[in-house]
Symmetry: C2
Subunit: 207 residues, 2 copies
């Protein structure tokens, strides 16, 4: 179906629907917006409107074929294509990401990690190559890298970001607590674990 304008809020929920649907065994079963809503703790109408943006194969009285929904949501989220990615900064968070098997399902293939400026890496077995930053440019040119993941300390983040931009990387997933400056055509997704815990604490305090 043709592309609609999808809000940020909906975009945050789509992966949740997808994940829920993937856990359903019988992919040829039908599922309704109401069932999804109940399982995930949303209101029915919200789920129906979200789904309507990416899938129009719903049937009255039955709902949606699970496989249709998985296909259409997945397609919108880009799961049906593969984007190569690299990590710079294999500290603990970098290693955790490098080792996480689940990302390939979402269209991302992490090729390697790079250590920045002589930083020694944590010494436990890695399944993917960990290279020196001096090899970064060469590696990127050769491997069609589309996504850069930054897990270096704050003070190096902008510098690494600039390197990535120079290599033509258009999407950056940033775990450093700094607002990166990038050209307009580069997307940055900021991941901030400290903010996460901070919000949780404030909810305890202010509830």
């Amino acid at each position: 179906m043709e592309k609609k304008n999808i809000s940020k809020a909906t975009l945050e929920r789509l992966p949740q629907y997808l994940h829920y649907l993937e856990n359903i065994e019988d992919k040829d079963a039908y599922i309704s917006s109401r069932q999804i809503a109940e399982s995930l703790g949303f209101v029915e109408i919200k789920v129906r409107k979200d789904i309507a943006l990416v899938c129009d194969k719903g049937k009255p009285k039955k709902g949606f074929l699970v496989s249709d929904l998985i296909k259409d949501i997945g397609s919108y989220l880009g799961c049906d294509e593969i984007y190569n990615a690299v990590i710079v900064g294999p500290g603990k968070i970098g290693r955790a990401i490098l080792g996480y098997q689940g990302f390939s399902r979402y269209g991302i293939n992490i090729l390697a990690a790079f250590t920045h400026h002589g930083n020694k890496t944590i010494d436990y077995p890695a399944t993917k190559p960990i290279l020196d930053l001096s090899e970064f440019n060469d590696f990127c040119s050769k491997n069609n890298v589309k996504i850069g993941i930054i897990t270096v300390p704050v003070q190096y983040a902008q510098e690494i970001c600039d390197m990535m931009v120079k290599q033509g990387i258009k999407a950056i997933w940033n775990f450093a607590r700094i607002n990166l400056v990038v050209p307009d055509d580069v997307i940055v997704r900021q991941e901030d674990l400290a903010a996460g815990i901070s919000i949780l604490v404030s909810q305890i305090k202010n509830k």
Copy 2:
């Protein structure tokens, strides 16, 4: 100042302001909403309205004393109190969090991690104790634990969550991709790294 109703959107931005302000050397300097907005890539009015919810010490022509802002935002976010926390599931993500020094700044003190059901832990040096799950209940009763962090595989998450709730934990930070079922008075913050990358990929695809 008295408590206002703060929206989820504002709550997500407050930690960003706080982090930015903490990096300013001269805490006795004045800073305006406009300066913060420019540095962080927001529009001025948004920052002013956010700040107005937690701080009313602004001066015309000058703005806010950095130290006032840090104090008031931090106070709202709960940074001026300390909440004890434990992690269950010290895999890679659990270890990354256990080792991250930055959380103490945000009012959270991670006491220990627990391994679930005979899972062997990754073998690299830890700075905090890693205990067996059989010690969990006893540990929680003795240490006034307020926050539970779940980093176990999906299939164990609800079970661990139930244990935490039974121990009187009212706030849970969940890294497993499952919607936990909890009583009304328990807060769950869902952290989903796969969703993060998925959203980034969709932005590449649909831009």
